[in-house]
């Protein structure tokens, strides 16, 4: 049985006097224990909203969440707020993009880690502090004993993200959700954090959901990759498969449009035309149709279904990129 099984998750935002907006549209995916799953897409594709919906962290008002989020046999969407809060700290950890705003600025880092341990693992303060020291040590924070007493503004961005990872890992969660964990960091620090995450996943057997817009981050880390567009999953594939033979024109276009360090210089990038604002509603057809190079008549006859491919992935496209077209 999967550790996490998301079934037909939809999130609709509804504000007074405005048209309802479907941010996440019947997204289904599952995460096996110890697996790393990527959710990739550009801003507005619904990847962050998906993670917030799974964690039950969306604001109470102004949105409607439907579907199922089965974690370890229980539907998280149906849990009472108290039970959910309990799960959130103990079984599921989360890392956010901005480490400074995710940490409480007026509480020392050690206390913030220790609090989680006291609450979810019932440790006394002394034992929790000792464990906190070890956690900070494990995520590679130099001189952890002194760091325990320091405040978030006293350490650098990379160290803050490490502290946040330490908090997320405090209760040895079985699932870790990382929402753009390295976007706010410099490349060399990003490399440190990604290496750390990879090691932690290997050592502790935690499952990881990696939410990012950066295909490069996914390429080195994730086992399975879900590509989101306009709130729907448009392609799902095993990592090597996805990057070697992207079938959806959007995935294909994305991979072609990023300048690569190892690609030959001087040629034009193959940009996807238009922007997400050109999307048509899924009910009318494929949201990507107006920007798509492969568009055919069928693309305007309602939502294309997500169908299994020969290579064990899933694809939502009427006229996929042929398998022979490799990424340059």
């Amino acid at each position: 049985m999967s550790l996490l099984d998301v079934r037909d998750l939809s999130v609709v935002f509804q504000r007074r006097g405005e048209r309802p907006f479907t941010a996440v549209d019947e997204v289904s995916f599952s995460v096996e224990p110890g697996q790393t799953v990527g959710l990739v897409g550009e801003s507005g594709c619904g990847k962050s909203v998906t993670s917030l919906a799974i964690m039950g962290l969306l604001p109470q008002r102004g949105n409607k969440v439907t579907g199922e989020v089965n974690f370890d046999g229980a539907d998280l969407l149906k849990l009472r707020p108290d039970d959910l809060r309990d799960r959130r700290g103990r079984d599921i950890g989360m890392i956010f993009q901005d480490p400074l705003s995710s940490l409480n600025p007026v509480i020392p880092i050690g206390t913030q880690v220790a609090e989680v341990l006291e609450r979810h693992r019932g440790m006394d303060h002394k034992a929790a502090l000792k464990e906190a020291r070890e956690l900070l040590d494990a995520v590679g924070i130099p001189d952890p004993t002194r760091r325990l007493k320091e405040y978030p503004h006293q350490i650098s961005g990379g160290m803050r993200q490490r502290a946040l990872i330490a908090i997320a890992l405090a209760c040895k969660p079985r699932l870790l959700i990382a929402d753009e964990p390295t976007t706010a960091l410099d490349v060399t620090i990003q490399a440190q954090i990604l290496t750390l995450l990879k090691e932690l996943v290997d050592e502790t057997g935690t499952a990881l959901i990696m939410i990012t817009h950066d295909l490069g981050v996914v390429a080195g880390l994730c086992d399975t990759v879900n590509v989101l567009y306009g709130g729907k999953i448009v392609e799902r594939a095993e990592r090597h498969e996805l990057f070697a033979r992207p079938r959806h024109p959007y995935t294909h276009g994305l991979l072609n449009s990023v300048p690569r360090l190892d690609s030959p210089r001087g040629e034009r990038l193959h940009a996807i035309r238009g922007s997400v604002a050109d999307n048509i509603p899924w009910a009318e057809g494929c949201a990507f149709a107006p920007r798509c190079d492969n568009v055919v008549d069928a693309c305007l006859d309602g939502t294309p279904p997500l169908e299994p491919t020969a290579n064990g992935g899933d694809l939502r496209c009427n006229n996929p990129v042929s398998e022979e077209v490799a990424v340059p």
Partner: protein, 346 residues
């Protein structure tokens, strides 16, 4: 997407032309890929694209105005304010009598412990001098509006001058002006106003207006200076400098107008406090000595207080009028603040 609640406004932002489309249109062909589509489907796609396109050309001010109109609280405030202004403008037409005239039929019934109440001719009865209370209430709105608006405008003008100088020049000009406003802010507003009125040799409605205006100068000055400094650091001011725009033009065309929005909202809110402050001064007997002038604060302070045991309505009506009008301006001001900066909404 750090804030999931900010939804992309579908249609407001359309990448209507992109370079590939442009280059290919030059050659008279369709964007790549679209040639595969049938005639009907292509039309449908264009139709859908049209549906999400918007007419555009909506400035931020108009956009804010649209949001303001959709906000029920702001509309309640605006209605109160509109009603108040209308009453003030048409007071001579609305009032059944001359507010200064003492009527014999009222004066003859005046005793120490009774003031005539409502009658068909005088719907709100008499004031302690035998004048028509309703007419005085209606005319009082004029005075209140006049004092409130003028005090706010004078305060605004002086505050903007001080704030703009401090914000534009910075350095020691800023230092001196801001220390000065600090001193003024350190004094309680009413105390400052009372001292200012007391300093005048003869109090009149102008001393009240000036006192209330001066009390508000440091508030406007501080606010404007703060947002001017924020503007000075902003990217678009840097961009203007990079363009080679002259210093004066940057201050007048970029920093000041963008900083003014906050000040204008504050001015609406200040209208309500100015009305309250002017009323307080009148209440304390520091206002206009002309007993014929109808003014809510004066009516509340002198007549209402003295004859509260006899006829409490003399206090209730002006008090309620002051509160409602002040509330109207406050609601409108808060609504404007929200409309200008939708993120401040909770």
């Amino acid at each position: 997407m750090s804030d999931p609640i900010i939804q992309p406004t579908v249609g407001a932002q359309r990448e209507s032309v992109d370079p590939s489309a442009v280059t290919e249109k030059r050659e008279g062909t369709l964007p790549r890929g679209l040639d595969r589509l049938g005639e009907r489907k292509r039309a449908r796609l264009e139709q859908l694209a049209q549906a999400t396109a918007d007419k555009g050309g909506v400035s931020l001010v108009r956009d804010a105005f649209r949001r303001l109109r959709r906000n029920p609280t702001a509309m309640v405030g605006a209605s109160i304010v509109a009603l108040f202004v209308l009453v003030a403008i048409f007071a001579p037409l609305l009032a059944p009598h001359d507010p200064a005239q003492r009527f014999d039929e009222l004066t003859k019934n005046l005793t120490v412990d009774s003031i005539p109440g409502a009658s068909s001719e005088f719907p709100l009865g008499s004031d302690p001098l035998g004048r028509d209370f309703l007419s005085r209430m209606i005319h009082g709105s004029r005075q209140t509006l006049f004092v409130g608006v003028l005090a706010t405008l004078i305060g605004l003008a002086l505050g903007v001058l001080v704030g703009a100088l401090a914000g534009a020049f910075g350095g020691w000009v800023d230092n001196i002006l801001m220390r000065f406003t600090d001193v003024m802010l350190a004094l309680p507003a009413l105390l400052l106003a009372i001292s200012l009125v007391a300093m005048a040799s003869r109090s009149s409605q102008w001393t009240v207006i000036l006192a209330v205006a001066i009390v508000n100068v440091p508030i406007f000055a501080r606010l404007l200076r703060g947002s001017m400094l924020a503007q000075r650091e902003s990217d678009h001011v840097l961009a203007a400098r990079a363009l080679g725009v002259k210093r004066g033009a940057i201050v007048l065309r970029h920093m000041l107008p963008n900083a003014m929005t906050a000040v204008i909202v504050q001015a609406t809110l200040t209208l309500s406090t100015a009305i309250l402050e002017a009323a307080s001064l009148s209440f304390l007997g520091l206002g206009d000595p002309d007993i014929n002038r109808a003014e809510w604060g004066l009516m509340l302070g002198v007549d209402g207080q003295r004859y509260f045991e006899v006829r409490p309505e003399l206090a209730y009506f002006p008090a309620v009028a002051i509160i409602v009008v002040a509330l109207g301006f406050t609601l409108l001001g808060e609504g404007m603040r929200e409309a200008i900066d939708p993120k401040s909404r909770r």
